[in-house]
């Protein structure tokens, strides 16, 4: 009887089902928009030149967040220095050189696993290898290295897909004109795949910029009344600072908390939007 009902009223069922699914999608998306708008509104009033360019004082309950902003910039750049060349090279290997054999499969499995390792475990690893074993101390260097390994899988997999999307004929023609394999890759393939690679790199770095757990014990400083002097200095960072002022500091003015959240969000969202724009512009301009 149920099936009869279903088949007779199948168009009603469809309408009902579609409404439910649409509602589910709406309820998934609304909180995202809500979160962003809420932080923009609540944090907006805290933003001033002093807040962005000043040092924190009175136990971080007053003043600005400059050291945290600069620190996050340093960490993001430091991460890029290691993970971008390594990630792109690994992607070139997988897309242009690797044959379909056991080793390649093992590499792919390793990349998938790197992507799945909890961020706090990266923190432990960074503590064990970079901070203690290699004796970098809690430093920008140790934190950047830890973040780069965490970022690698994102950069490798998006870059590889970008490289693979370049049509095979580009390679064939280049090789037939007498170019070597590396000439073909560096002058033709990389150029064509650049927007896709760039998108992947930015998305990877976006993740690094927003992470807290991997830098907790590798390079984040609770409070630093100055800017870091070298790569061997610890540094304040926006995500860690937000964590500190929202859980560790009693009687923290709510304005500063929302303001810090806003700056972090804008930092990360800007990278996200840039990546999206590069992707869609490349899509529109693509001729193959």
């Amino acid at each position: 009887m149920m099936t009869k009902f279903l088949s007779r009223n199948r168009h009603t069922v469809q309408r009902l089902g579609f409404s439910v699914i649409t509602l589910v999608a709406v309820f998934t998306v609304l909180p995202i928009i809500g979160t962003v708008i809420y932080i923009l509104v609540k944090g907006g009033s805290a933003i001033s030149w002093e807040f962005l360019s000043g040092f924190p004082h009175d136990g971080m309950r007053a003043g600005g967040i400059l050291p945290a902003i600069i620190g996050t910039l340093y960490l993001t750049l430091g991460t890029a220095v290691f993970s971008v060349p390594l990630g792109i090279a690994a992607a070139i290997y997988l897309s242009e050189y690797a044959r379909d054999n056991q080793v390649t499969r093992l590499i792919r499995l390793a990349i998938i696993n790197l992507a799945g390792i909890p961020s706090v475990v990266y923190g432990l690893f960074g503590l064990g290898l970079f901070v203690l074993f290699l004796q970098f101390g809690t430093s920008i260097l140790a934190a950047s290295l830890t973040l780069s390994i965490m970022t690698l899988p994102v950069i490798i997999s998006t870059s590889e897909e970008a490289l693979r999307a370049v049509p095979q004929s580009f390679r064939t023609v280049s090789i037939s004109l007498g170019a070597t394999r590396w000439q073909t890759i560096s002058r033709i393939i990389l150029k064509e795949a650049l927007p896709g690679i760039l998108t992947g790199v930015i998305l990877g770095l976006e993740r690094a910029a927003g992470e807290t757990a991997p830098i907790l014990f590798t390079g984040a400083a609770f409070f630093l009344p100055r800017l870091p002097h070298s790569a061997f200095d610890a540094t304040m960072a926006l995500p860690y600072h937000l964590f500190v002022i929202s859980t560790q500091v009693p009687e923290m003015p709510i304005q500063i908390q929302y303001g810090t959240a806003l700056v972090l969000l804008v930092f990360v969202l800007t990278m996200n939007v840039i990546a999206t724009v590069i992707r869609s512009r490349a899509r529109a301009r693509r001729q193959w």
């Binding site: 799945g116 909890p118 503590l127 998006t158």
Partner: protein, 298 residues
């Protein structure tokens, strides 16, 4: 292959190859350092007290059971949210939404994936937990349930993108065949497309769950951090403490090389092995995802 490689080309090729192999090296290094710092636990704490229900490191009680059950409760709750919403959204994006809607929804869901977990934890403390405390009439709003809600949100983008890839890779002919036989679009989704994408959707669920188990900052900020053994579903509405949060909260305060330090690495080792198992199983599921390049480049 190429016999006439110039030495420069040779070196570049080797460097690129080394970079390709580096991923294996990093996984091995991570495992090695977790073992190196975590294994001494087994000689310092005997197995029976490790598998105990009392976590009170100051007095040398290192029972990790409450932490494991804490992680389980929060993750289970997160899965109950992320699975229906994630798969529902994936179905909507891939099968129902008009093209322009798809172009808006995909970046939005990706945006959610990019929101720093510390920002979600921050809003969890200030907005969600006071609301839940009043709404559900609880003594505190910092409970496993609060963590589950936020973790569900964090796992959703993973579930959506993998499940959507899986639905996308179902050949169009399957759908057309069903329509030709008189099935409605809804019937086609339920009885043809989703079953055909089953393994991929399962992978999506597993990866989403894996993402939830490993999440650190959000759960540390909103679950109340009480290392109490979770025994029933009622624990969902009381404070708990997860494995990840324990490491993050306590590692900063322990002396290097102490027993407490080793136990924290041991917990990290357990987390690493869990994520290894989840990912190996998920990737061994025979599911040829349509290359994500399509999403990124076309």
């Amino acid at each position: 292959m190429e016999k006439s490689l110039s030495w420069r080309e040779f070196i570049i090729t080797r460097l690129i190859q080394a970079s390709g192999y580096s991923a294996i090296l990093f996984v091995a290094l991570i495992f090695f350092f977790l073992l190196r710092e975590g294994l001494p636990t087994l000689s310092e704490v005997d197995a029976s007290s490790l598998l105990n229900f009392r976590w009170y490191p100051i007095e040398s009680y290192f029972g990790i059971l409450p932490l494991i059950t804490g992680s389980l409760v929060v993750t289970l709750g997160a899965a109950l949210i992320a699975v229906p919403f994630g798969i529902g959204t994936a179905v909507y994006i891939s099968e129902i939404a008009p093209r322009w809607m798809r172009e808006i929804l995909k970046p939005l869901v990706e945006l959610l994936g990019g929101l720093p977990s510390v920002v979600l934890g921050f809003l969890g403390i200030l907005v969600l937990s006071p609301f839940l405390r009043v709404f559900l009439d609880l003594p505190t709003g910092l409970t496993a349930f609060t963590g589950s809600l936020l973790l569900g949100g964090i796992a959703v983008p993973t579930v959506v993108s993998v499940a959507e890839d899986a639905l996308d890779s179902v050949p169009r002919a399957y759908r057309e065949g069903a329509w030709a036989l008189g099935a409605t679009k809804w019937q086609t989704i339920w009885r043809v497309t989703l079953p055909a994408a089953k393994s991929g959707v399962l992978t999506a669920v597993m990866l989403g769950v894996g993402r939830a188990i490993g999440e650190t900052m959000t759960v540390m900020m909103v679950t109340g951090n009480a290392p109490v053994l979770a025994t029933s579903l009622g624990s969902l509405f009381s404070p708990v403490r997860t494995m990840t949060a324990t490491i993050a909260a306590e590692m900063g305060e322990v002396a290097n090389g102490s027993t407490h330090y080793h136990v924290l690495f041991f917990i990290g080792m357990v987390l690493f092995i869990i994520s290894l198992v989840v990912n190996v199983i998920a990737s061994s599921v025979v599911f040829r995802a349509k290359k994500r390049a399509e999403r990124i480049l076309s």
